[in-house]
């Protein structure tokens, strides 16, 4: 059975089902991260003192640059498909995947440094919320990488069968990826700088 409205837009919403679906999913994600941001505010305003300068700002800034660059490569991967340039699409998608990997490698070294110093999540309220927020964000990066890997591997078959549907799927992946970037844009200043 074919999934309806994957390429053509539904007459009532003016959207493909996938587009509306991914936006509703992102809405639920806003609530998930929103609850944690709210928790952060409660913990921070209720704490008699809050550590400052415990995180590596340089590494955090590098990761911000990496994620912003990956957002550019992701949107370019979609734009290349719209221009029917398969080779460029592959190049940009691989670049996005690699940048995501570099982000996680940086995060691994950052986490390792904290654990080596005994700064586990149980160490303080700050480390607890830091590991919760960045850990959840890291899992989202990992999830995005799995999807990208699919579109670099077995998912490519759809391009030959239905290029428009494939292009739309890459667009939805991009929307998710930009959201992950957006979350980091807020996480970086509140955890590393303030």
């Amino acid at each position: 059975m074919n999934i309806p409205y994957t390429v053509e837009e539904r007459p009532d919403t003016g959207l493909t089902n996938g587009k509306l679906g991914i936006w509703l999913f992102l809405a639920s994600e806003v609530m998930l991260f929103g609850a944690l941001f709210s928790t952060y505010i409660i913990l921070r305003t209720g704490a008699p003192e809050w550590p400052h300068g415990e995180l590596n700002v340089v590494l955090g800034a590098i990761n911000t640059v990496i994620l912003i660059s990956s957002s550019v490569t992701m949107v370019m991967a979609w734009a290349s498909l719209k221009l029917k340039d398969w080779a460029k699409h592959r190049l940009y998608l691989i670049a996005t995947f690699v940048l995501a990997g570099v982000f996680l490698v940086n995060k691994y070294f950052e986490y390792k440094d904290h654990f080596d110093k005994g700064e586990t999540p149980a160490h303080s309220t700050f480390t607890a919320i830091y590991f919760t927020l960045t850990g959840l964000h890291g899992l989202h990066i990992l999830g995005g990488m799995v999807v990208m890997l699919y579109f670099l591997g077995p998912g490519t078959k759809l391009w030959k069968k239905n290029p428009d549907q494939f292009t739309n799927r890459v667009e939805y992946t991009g929307l998710y990826w930009h959201f992950v970037d957006l979350v980091w844009i807020f996480l970086f200043p509140i955890l590393y700088l303030l």
Partner: protein, 115 residues
């Protein structure tokens, strides 16, 4: 969503410019942090820059600057829900758990508990 090749090529330039602007704003965020403003100013500056960056990502990369009304409707509900979540911390300051509540009758009742 634009589908015309010329439109896409035009958008590509915008994506690159926005990407560069986001990197510049990241530099400004880190740079502003070196000035050691007071906490209220630092929080305000950092959140204003983060909001500007977030708006750029949402409007250009996520194409929210020209989306359908169903998406805006879903986002409006999301913003509403998010604002409710952000007001939760205010309610935590309104509870009285752990606060001293004076006994009825005041100090006299406390001095003569038998009466």
């Amino acid at each position: 969503m634009h589908s015309d090749a010329a439109e896409i090529r035009k958008s590509v330039r915008t994506y690159m410019l926005v990407g560069a602007a986001l990197l510049v704003f990241t530099g400004i965020t880190v740079g502003a942090n070196q000035f050691h403003f007071g906490v209220p100013v630092a929080v305000t500056v950092a959140l204003i820059i983060a909001t500007m960056k977030g708006s750029m990502v949402a409007s250009i990369f996520m194409h929210l600057s020209h989306e359908k009304k169903w998406i805006y409707g879903a986002l409006l509900l999301t913003v509403l829900g998010f604002l409710i979540l952000m007001t939760v911390p205010i309610f935590t300051t309104m509870d009285t758990i752990g606060q001293h509540v004076p006994a009825i009758g005041g100090a006299a009742a406390a001095e003569h508990p038998g009466h």
